[in-house]
């Protein structure tokens, strides 16, 4: 892949991703041999166990060396390894486009991350699919592991502009219908939705035994609330205005945000969904590396 060809995949990113492997925590199904454990046993280089021969088993699987030593028929079993079907879901609603002075916009940050993940998957010869949504599912890329597919998807990322209201619940429900079971689903969003029940749509994914990773992308303004004096806040998605004394409402803002995130985290924990909050002020490579190291330590 030629360097500096893609906006969201700069050369330094490519360098930092050299030694990173994303391995699915759970069993995944794939069409090709790969890094990931498959629920199907067969021929492969990884020995699993011996089993007594039973009529009906193919005689080609009998281990003749063992028969020579024990005079009994044993069948040698290997763990089959497969490639991963992964899907990147990107929230492109208006809230993701909230302007930030000293850091990339949340959407751009999410795009960087998505591109990195796509590249990572491609490197592992895993198939990558892509969905972008706001009020509806607006961008769909089939799950493929070809290079041309990656390039096309990265190009599409570059052309996307965040905007409009979000309906995460409905979109996730629709996307879940299109994702095959036992896939890896990575969602990049701020998860600010006016319908607090949107998170329950993740049930559709967990029901399909998909491994779901949520990356909550927030910027410094949301995390530190640096405003002073009389501020008229405009909801970037709805256009609604609210004039507030920033000092007076700061405390409540933090409480409300933390409480909201805590609810999300609790839900994710209960559903064995990985939930990670990233801030746009941190370099995304570092954030990514930190995430992978953390994940590696966990498993």
């Amino acid at each position: 892949m030629a360097r500096n060809q893609f906006k969201y995949l700069p050369p330094e990113t490519l360098d930092s991703l050299k030694n990173i492997e994303l391995v699915a925590q759970s069993l995944v199904e794939g069409g090709l041999l790969g890094l990931h454990r498959s629920p199907y046993h067969g021929f492969s280089s990884e020995f699993a166990e011996y089993r007594k021969y039973t009529p009906g088993d193919g005689i080609k699987y009998i281990d003749w060396k063992t028969y020579a030593r024990t005079d009994r028929y044993y069948i040698k079993r290997f763990e089959e390894e497969t490639n991963l079907r992964s899907f990147i879901l990107l929230d492109k609603s208006g809230s993701m486009g909230m302007p930030e002075k000293s850091a990339p916009v949340k959407f751009n940050y999410a795009c960087y991350l998505a591109a990195a993940f796509m590249f990572l998957m491609h490197q592992q010869r895993d198939a990558v699919g892509f969905f972008a949504y706001d009020r509806e599912v607006s961008e769909v890329a089939e799950c493929k592991c070809s290079r041309s597919h990656l390039i096309a998807t990265l190009k599409r990322l570059e052309n996307m502009i965040p905007g409009g209201p979000s309906d995460s619940g409905e979109c996730l429900k629709l996307i879940a219908e299109r994702i095959p079971k036992r896939s890896l689903v990575i969602i990049f969003s701020d998860f600010f939705d006016h319908n607090p029940d949107f998170i329950k749509s993740l049930h559709h994914l967990t029901f399909k035994k998909c491994e779901v990773i949520l990356f909550q992308v927030l910027n410094d303004s949301e995390l530190k609330f640096p405003y002073k004096g009389l501020i008229e806040f405009e909801d970037i998605e709805t256009g609604r205005m609210l004039a507030l004394e920033s000092e007076a409402c700061r405390e409540h803002f933090f409480n409300a945000l933390n409480s909201y995130n805590a609810q999300l985290k609790n839900f994710c924990d209960s559903q064995k969904i990985s939930f990670e909050t990233l801030t746009t002020s941190a370099p995304f490579e570092r954030a990514l590396a930190a995430y992978f190291s953390k994940r590696e330590a966990m498993f």
Binding site: G94, S95, M96, M98, P99, K106, D190, F192, H194, S221, E222, Y227, K228, G229, L230, I231, E232, F233, E234, D235, I236, E237, T238, R240, M241, L242, A243, L244, E245, E247, A248, C249, R250, E251, H252, F253, A256, L257, Y260
Partner: protein, 681 residues
């Protein structure tokens, strides 16, 4: 509105200073696009609104405070009227000296005395260059606008109550005329009155025509309980010794409470009779005294009641003359050789020669002897003639009539229409003849009309058989006293101050058989009594009215002990000092005496309330408070109300509010700062 230190008004632009500072330091609202408003609570925005509203309130407070300070320093005055400081003031005091001002105040004095003291207070409020005038409501001369206040005070102190009603309209008009000529810019009319309901003008008094004129009214509330005696009107028939004289009277209770009152008849200063009369609230009771004179001569008296309130209407005066008898002069033409036409008349009213019966004495004379001197002490002149009377005699008779005498004319069998025509001409009735031709009349009986209807009950009237009559021409100004079958038989005409009774029948038997009937002496005696007019030269007048007199050197004395020389002016002799009730005796005048009565309207003391007082005028008036010093009130009204004190008080109040609100705002800001500091840590 006026300002004592108007230079401070230049400070008014400072009012905008807080506004400028507010605009300069105004917190700008920053607009920020944010991902979501999920984590903001709507109510938090009230904090911002509250602060904003607080700041606006503080701004208004500060601007108002500066405004109040500037106005307080500039000593702002609020004036109801446009009083020009430093310019001269012309004050006209209208003092009500009518009878109702005699009503008693709860403090004991009369409202008039109180009004006098209050008027002096007004005068004391005027400076040396100011003008003052006193106008009395009764029309009595006051003092025209003058700088000499002592003259006004003197006139004020010498003013006395009158029994007149007075005219507020006339007094106000006089005041306006005086003020119009006055040089002073500030014009004031003070009206000190009890403002009775009966005195309310039918149309509002016009004071608007006089620019920059202020009217101040001091309504004085005296007691409304009052009794008055009225209707002491004695009939005009001649009074004779030992004949009862009816003196009617009416006691009027003008108050709301029923009263028992003692009524006293006083004759020539002595109490003669008394009555106890009960009068209900707002009603009247009539009664009468019967007085039998024992001697001849003038009788002056009064009917008097005891009443605590207005005393001028507690006495009603009367005066009449008691004669020895009714003197009748019977005049005929003795040279005609006819029998005495008055034979039956004399027989009827004077049956015994030289001894008057019914109080009537007769005297006979020939027409040629008729002179003024002969008629001097006569009440009635009876004429029975056939030949026309000459003009000289008619003139003598006219003078007799002018002096209140009564002429009684009878036709004779050969009378003609011209017999009494000269008298008709002399008395101004020349166009209409009274008598016409003698015509036969075959009728019987006679019908008397008012006021002689009681004669119709007499016996033998229906037995009168008429043979002929001399036709009479009824006058529109006269009245027909008796008729027979539609034909007038007896006419009464007014002539001068006396009257002329013209009969269509004679007093013998040529015209009827009446002299032979029993009814004749009764009717003739009664007719003589009816015919006898009161020749007294008296008038009845209401206090305040002028009495026109004739005479070159007239003087008078009054029953209340005052003697006046009445001088002539413009060829007229007029008695103008008719202020108190009583009897006024004139000498050297055509009128012997006058009975002055109080104005009956003044006895009703029902007073207007404050709202009604204002309705007296067509322009705004200010009611003064009788309980406080009028000088101070007048000065306050002239200067207006200084508002500096109020402004300073308001300023302090606003300062306190500003302190509280400012403190609240400071606390709010401190709270925010604390939050910021907490966050920084």
């Amino acid at each position: 509105m006026d300002f004592g230190n108007s230079i401070f008004l230049w400070g008014l632009p400072l009012v905008l200073l807080p506004l400028l500072l507010h605009l300069f330091f105004k917190r700008r609202k920053t607009r920020v696009q944010f991902s979501t408003l999920l984590f903001f609570v709507k109510k938090e925005r009230y904090f911002a609104y509250r602060r904003k509203i607080l700041e606006i309130i503080l701004l208004i407070l500060r601007m108002t405070m500066i405004l109040l300070l500037v106005l307080a320093l500039s000593r702002m005055f609020f004036k109801k009227f446009n009083f020009i400081s430093g310019a001269g003031t012309e004050a006209v005091i209208i003092l009500d000296d009518s009878m109702s001002m005699q009503s008693r105040l709860p403090s004991g004095g009369t409202t008039f005395d109180f009004a006098q003291s209050k008027a002096e207070e007004i005068l004391s409020s005027l400076s040396g260059d100011d003008g003052a005038a006193l106008i009395l409501l009764s029309g009595k001369p006051g003092v025209n606008l003058t700088r000499d206040k002592t003259a006004v005070v003197k006139a004020l102190r010498s003013a006395r109550l009158t029994a007149t009603a007075g005219s507020l309209g006339a007094a106000v008009q006089t005041a306006i005329e005086q003020l119009r000529k006055a040089p002073g810019v500030n014009r004031e009319i003070y009206i000190l009155s009890d403002f009775k309901k009966s005195g309310k003008p039918s149309t509002a008094l016009n004071i608007a025509e006089l620019g920059n004129c202020r009217v101040f009214c001091l309504p004085l509330r005296g007691s409304e309980d009052n009794l008055s005696v009225d209707n002491v009107t004695i009939d005009s028939t001649p009074k004779v010794i030992n004949r009862p004289v009816i003196i009617p009277f009416k006691v009027v209770n003008h108050g709301k409470n029923p009263r028992d009152v003692r009524v006293e008849l006083e004759i020539d200063g002595r109490e003669m009779q008394t009555r106890q009369v009960s009068v209900g609230g707002k009603s009247s009771a009539a009664d009468r005294f019967v007085y039998i004179p024992a001697r001849s001569g003038r009788v002056n008296g009064s009917v008097k009641i005891d009443d605590d309130n207005i005393s001028l209407d507690d006495r009603a005066y009367f005066s009449f003359n008691i004669a020895g008898s009714i003197n009748v002069l019977l005049v005929r033409d003795t040279q005609s050789g006819k029998p005495d036409p008055f034979y039956f008349l004399r027989l009827a009213i004077n049956p015994v020669k030289n001894q008057p019966a019914y109080g009537i004495s007769t005297e006979s004379a020939d027409i040629t002897d008729l002179k003024d001197t002969l008629l001097k002490d006569k009440n009635i002149l009876c004429l029975s003639l056939s030949k026309p009377l000459d003009a000289a005699k008619a003139e003598i008779i006219k003078n007799f009539l002018d002096n209140g005498g009564t002429l009684f004319t009878f036709p004779e069998a050969d009378s003609v229409p011209e017999t009494y025509a000269s008298i008709a001409r002399a008395t101004g009735n020349e166009k209409s003849a009274i008598y016409r031709e003698i015509v036969p009349l075959r009728k019987s009986g006679i019908i008397f009309n008012k006021p002689l209807t009681e004669f119709n009950d007499l016996l033998q009237l229906d037995m009168i058989k008429w043979r002929k009559i001399q036709q009479l021409v009824p006058f529109s100004s006269g009245k027909t006293l008796a008729r027979v079958d539609g034909q007038p038989m007896l006419l009464e005409l007014t002539a001068g101050r006396g009257k002329w009774l013209a009969a269509a029948f004679d007093l013998r038997r040529d015209f009827s058989n009446w002299p032979l009937l029993k009814s004749f002496p009764v009717v003739t005696a009664a007719l003589i009594n009816y015919a006898a007019g009161n020749s007294e030269q008296t008038v009845s007048t209401v206090c305040g009215e002028n009495i026109q007199l004739k005479g070159d050197k007239v003087s008078c004395s009054t029953s209340y002990g005052r003697n006046n020389e009445i001088s002539q002016a413009n060829g007229k002799t007029v008695f103008t000092e008719n202020w108190l009730p009583g009897i006024i005796f004139f000498s050297g005048a055509d009128i012997e005496l006058a009975i002055a009565k109080p104005d009956s309207g003044e006895s009703a003391t029902e007073q207007c309330d404050d709202g009604e007082v204002k309705d007296f005028f067509n322009a705004p008036v200010t009611l003064l408070d009788s309980s406080s010093d009028l000088a101070r009130q007048a000065e306050k009204l002239r200067k207006g109300m200084e508002l500096s004190g109020i402004f300073l008080l308001l300023l302090l109040l606003l300062l306190a509010v500003e302190f509280l609100l400012g403190g609240s705002r400071a606390m709010m800001i401190a709270e925010l700062k604390q939050k910021i500091r907490g966050r920084a840590k």
